[in-house]
């Protein structure tokens, strides 16, 4: 190996070191500049993973610098020329390297001269490892700038907090829907429309989860509720009323007392008991038969369901005529209608539970949408934070379903209480909707009348607009009945179009305030 090649090798080593330091400085400048740029960017655009993004630039800058360092290999001629200039060798090395294969009269002397001068010089000094003052200053300035940006309040923080709160709100709403699904599945009262209900809830849950904002999520709730309402059978109250009237009528007979109790307990048991009664008709005494025939006739007269009315009438007339077989057949028909009632009730309960879940979801989403509109999106998040929960003041959005049962009033939902998240106080329970029930007024406990759209108020006929005569008082309607009828009508009206959930909640809030004095009483 010639001396010139040894010189090149030494220069190359020194150049690699110097270049490495230079590229490291470049990488540092790039990384700090990246961080500063990210700090500026996150002040203009809400970006959640700002730390990750800022840190990402450091390895990228280092990798680019390392790749550039590896790729860039200065030629030997360039190294020699630069060493000439930097070491003051007056182009000796570059000339010698360029003419290393020449054999002119002075070439050997020139190469010898070059090697001698190179030996006296410190070759690594041609490529010193030093920090560029300009770059160091730039790094310092950028670092201070980035630090200041990181420490100063960022206006985008509020936007991010709002987004976080939105996500939490949507997650809670989705969970409320999921809880409703689970509750329906675990209810132990299967209905033929369970699959459809589950499907509707599943779709609503997915839409809530995927919605861009709580407001968008709210838009998916109303259609789901409308779909659920379509699943409810409007004839159920009439059938329930008929069954209850039957129970009331049978309770006064010796043969039908047990059947009456069974019907009051639930329609399925009632159906079985009626079948038992049908099978025992031939063994009844004439007095019992007559008594039973009268009770059936009375129930037939009060029945609002035509099939039930026909069956009861047929059973009554068959008994009175002594045709026990026909009467038994008619009672079996009644039993079948009670079975059907049981299925309808199960469906209605499932629909009610599903709507309760959706309403619970709506409340949370509407509240968050209102906060978003008022620019207070971060508050819900704060309330949901573990620290807030630990203090016992968290705003939990619990859902619950209170089921009131009463004699002759069917079942209703609403005003239940539930527990919120850990550490939070129990939230407001889901409001009952579609709670329905009709009563004859002979119930023992809860007899509150609830307005059901499309259904006549118990004790009144929808087709009874009797004109008032002279001196007659205007018939009075119960306050709660009117308020709830108005509330339902208003809510139904808001359901007809894409009215924001917050506005819909205003309507709901208005009516709930109107209802407060009543509750106080």
């Amino acid at each position: 190996m010639s001396s010139l090649e040894a010189i090149v090798r030494e220069l190359r080593k020194a150049a690699r070191r110097a270049l490495g330091a230079r590229y490291a400085a470049h990488a540092l400048v790039g990384a700090v500049a990246w961080v500063a740029a990210v700090m500026i960017l996150v002040r203009l655009v809400p970006f959640e993973r700002r730390a990750e993004l800022a840190v990402l630039g450091i390895p990228v800058a280092l990798a680019i610098a390392a790749a550039a360092w590896l790729i860039r290999r200065p030629s030997a001629a360039l190294l020699m020329a630069m060493a000439d200039i930097r070491l003051g060798l007056k182009e000796r090395l570059s000339t010698a390297w360029e003419r290393r294969a020449e054999s002119g009269p002075l070439d050997d002397a020139q190469r010898h001269d070059a090697v001698q001068h190179a030996a006296r010089a410190s070759l690594p000094a041609a490529f010193p490892v030093r920090v560029n003052r300009g770059e160091a200053t730039l790094v310092a300035i950028l670092a201070i700038f980035a630090l200041a940006l990181a420490l100063l309040p960022n206006p985008m923080d509020q936007v991010l907090a709002q987004r976080q709160a939105d996500r939490v709100s949507q997650a809670r709403a989705a969970k409320a829907v999921a809880d409703a699904k689970k509750k329906i599945a675990d209810s132990g009262k299967p209905s033929p429309k369970d699959a459809q209900i589950q499907k509707i809830l599943q779709d609503a849950q997915a839409k809530i989860h995927e919605a861009d904002s709580p407001r968008k999520a709210l838009e998916s709730i109303t259609p789901a509720e409308q779909q659920l309402q379509k699943l409810a059978d409007p004839g159920t109250p009439a059938l329930q009323s008929s069954a209850q009237n039957l129970a009331n009528a049978l309770s006064g007979t010796a043969a039908g007392r047990s059947a009456a109790q069974a019907i009051s307990t639930n329609p399925a048991k009632g159906a079985q008991s009626v079948r038992d009664l049908a099978s025992q008709l031939h063994s009844l005494s004439p007095k019992d038969r007559e008594e039973l025939a009268k009770a059936l006739a009375k129930a037939s007269q009060q029945a609002q369901n035509s099939q039930m009315r026909d069956s009861l009438s047929k059973a009554s007339s068959s008994l009175q005529s002594g045709d026990a077989a026909s009467a038994a057949q008619a009672l079996n028909d009644v039993a079948s209608q009670l079975d059907s009632l049981q299925e309808q009730e199960n469906t209605d309960q499932a629909v009610a539970a599903a709507i309760n879940g959706l309403e619970a979801a709506r409340q949370g989403l509407a509240a968050q949408a209102d906060r978003d509109a008022n620019g207070q999106g971060g508050q819900a998040n704060a309330g949901a934070s573990p620290s807030a929960g630990a203090s016992g003041n968290g705003n939990g959005n619990g859902t619950g379903t209170g089921t009131g049962t009463g004699n002759g009033n069917g079942s209703g939902t609403g005003n239940g209480t539930g527990t919120g998240g850990t550490g939070g106080t129990g939230g407001t329970g889901g409001t009952g909707s579609n709670g329905s029930g009709t009563g004859s007024g002979s119930g023992a406990a809860s007899t509150e009348r609830i307005y059901v759209p499309g259904q006549p108020v118990p004790g009144q006929s929808e087709n009874d607009p009797t004109p008032l005569g002279p001196g007659q008082d205007v018939p009075l309607s119960p306050y709660t009945q009117v308020i709830e009828a108005y509330q339902q009508a208003a809510l139904d009206a808001t359901d007809q179009s894409l009215i924001p959930g917050s506005e819909r909640d205003l309507v709901r809030e208005y009516f709930s305030q109107l209802g407060e004095p009543r509750a106080a009483k």
Binding site: S2, S3, L4, S75, A77, L78, M80, A81, M82, D84, I85, K90, E91, R92, S94, T95, A96, E98, R99, E102, G104, P105, L106, D107, D108, A109, Q110, R111, H112, D113, A114, V115
Partner: protein, 332 residues
């Protein structure tokens, strides 16, 4: 092992130049740059145009150079009535063995060292008589061309003042000169030394330190000095930069009418090679080119009238070019 004895002993050139400079310095006080440039031009085989006000020692320098070199020396005092034949010689009728016939009477141009004193006082016709001699190193009289002695070295002087009745050298004539050297006024210390040396009872007697053979050998050796490609490109860039249509310098585009010819590049490189040898180096460096750029290019750059009005000189233009031309390292 790289170290080998060079086939050409370049150190002799260095020694020759040093001895020439030393000997001339005995009589010429100061003026080191003038002596160095003159020796460079002599070693490169080029002609020199010395420009300076009267009394600065131009003629003394040339005469002293003639004394230090064992070569023929002649002096031609250029005047307006000087004819070409007075320089190159003429055919005259003579008596040879009783027969009268024309024979050639050589002029003073037939010498190794020719001093063309106050060359700008001769008419252009007479100045042109030097063209062939300086470039071709031959003289044609009648139909016969005769070679001049080798080495052939013309040192012309001209006075930048007293321009009345003078004939500025045409561009073609100027381009024949290897260097145009400006003779500066001596410093105060040098003036004192001049006074001491020349007003005493004796003046230094110069001795001969080289002959024609040594000069020719030095000229051949100088041409063998290697120059790296990127240094050569730098020289080319310098010359290109003197042209207003190629230069990026505003001053060049504004003030220069015509830039240096390719002969300027040849001069630059050759002078750089000689200077490298005189500096004890065997290769041309950027600083060699920079050092010789002024004398090599100043008479090859022709300025606009605007430059004269603004007091811009060719030297200033060259300084700017040197300052702004990049010394790019080799790229491969």
């Amino acid at each position: 092992m790289i170290a080998e004895e060079p086939r050409v002993d370049a150190t002799r050139v260095t020694e020759l130049a040093q001895s020439l400079e030393t000997e001339l310095a005995r009589l010429i006080v100061g003026q080191k740059a003038l002596l160095r440039d003159t020796v460079i031009a002599l070693t490169a085989g080029g002609h020199v145009l010395l420009e300076g006000v009267p009394g600065l020692g131009k003629t003394v320098l040339v005469r002293s150079l003639g004394q230090t070199l064992s070569m023929s020396f002649s002096r031609i005092q250029f005047t307006p009535d000087l004819m070409p034949a007075d320089i190159v010689g003429t055919n005259i009728i003579g008596d040879t063995d009783g027969r009268r016939e024309f024979h050639y009477q050589a002029g003073p141009i037939f010498a190794n060292l020719v001093l063309a004193d106050e060359i700008n006082r001769a008419t252009p016709k007479t100045q042109s008589a030097l063209l062939e001699a300086m470039q071709e190193r031959t003289v044609t009289v009648g139909t016969q061309t005769r070679p001049l002695p080798s080495p052939f070295f013309v040192l012309a002087t001209q006075n930048p003042i007293e321009l009345e009745g003078t004939y500025p050298l045409p561009e073609a004539q100027l381009d024949r000169f290897f260097f145009k050297i400006l003779v500066p006024f001596p410093s105060e210390g040098d003036l004192l030394e001049i006074a001491r040396r020349t007003t005493g009872d004796s003046t230094p007697q110069l001795k001969s330190v080289a002959d024609a053979g040594a000069i020719l050998t030095a000229q051949r050796t100088a041409r063998e000095v290697p120059i790296a490609e990127h240094v050569l490109r730098y020289a080319a860039r310098l010359v290109s930069a003197t042209h207003p249509d190629r230069s990026e310098l505003d001053s060049v585009r504004r003030y220069v009418r015509w830039g240096a010819s390719p002969r300027g590049l040849q001069t630059l490189v050759l002078a750089g090679k000689v200077r490298a040898l005189l500096e004890g180096r065997y290769n041309v460096a950027f600083e060699d080119l920079n050092s010789v750029a002024q004398p090599a290019l100043r008479h090859r750059i022709f300025l606009q009238f605007e430059a004269e009005a603004d007091g811009i000189t060719a030297d200033r233009i060259i300084s700017e070019i040197l300052e702004h031309t990049a010394k790019e390292p080799a790229s491969k």
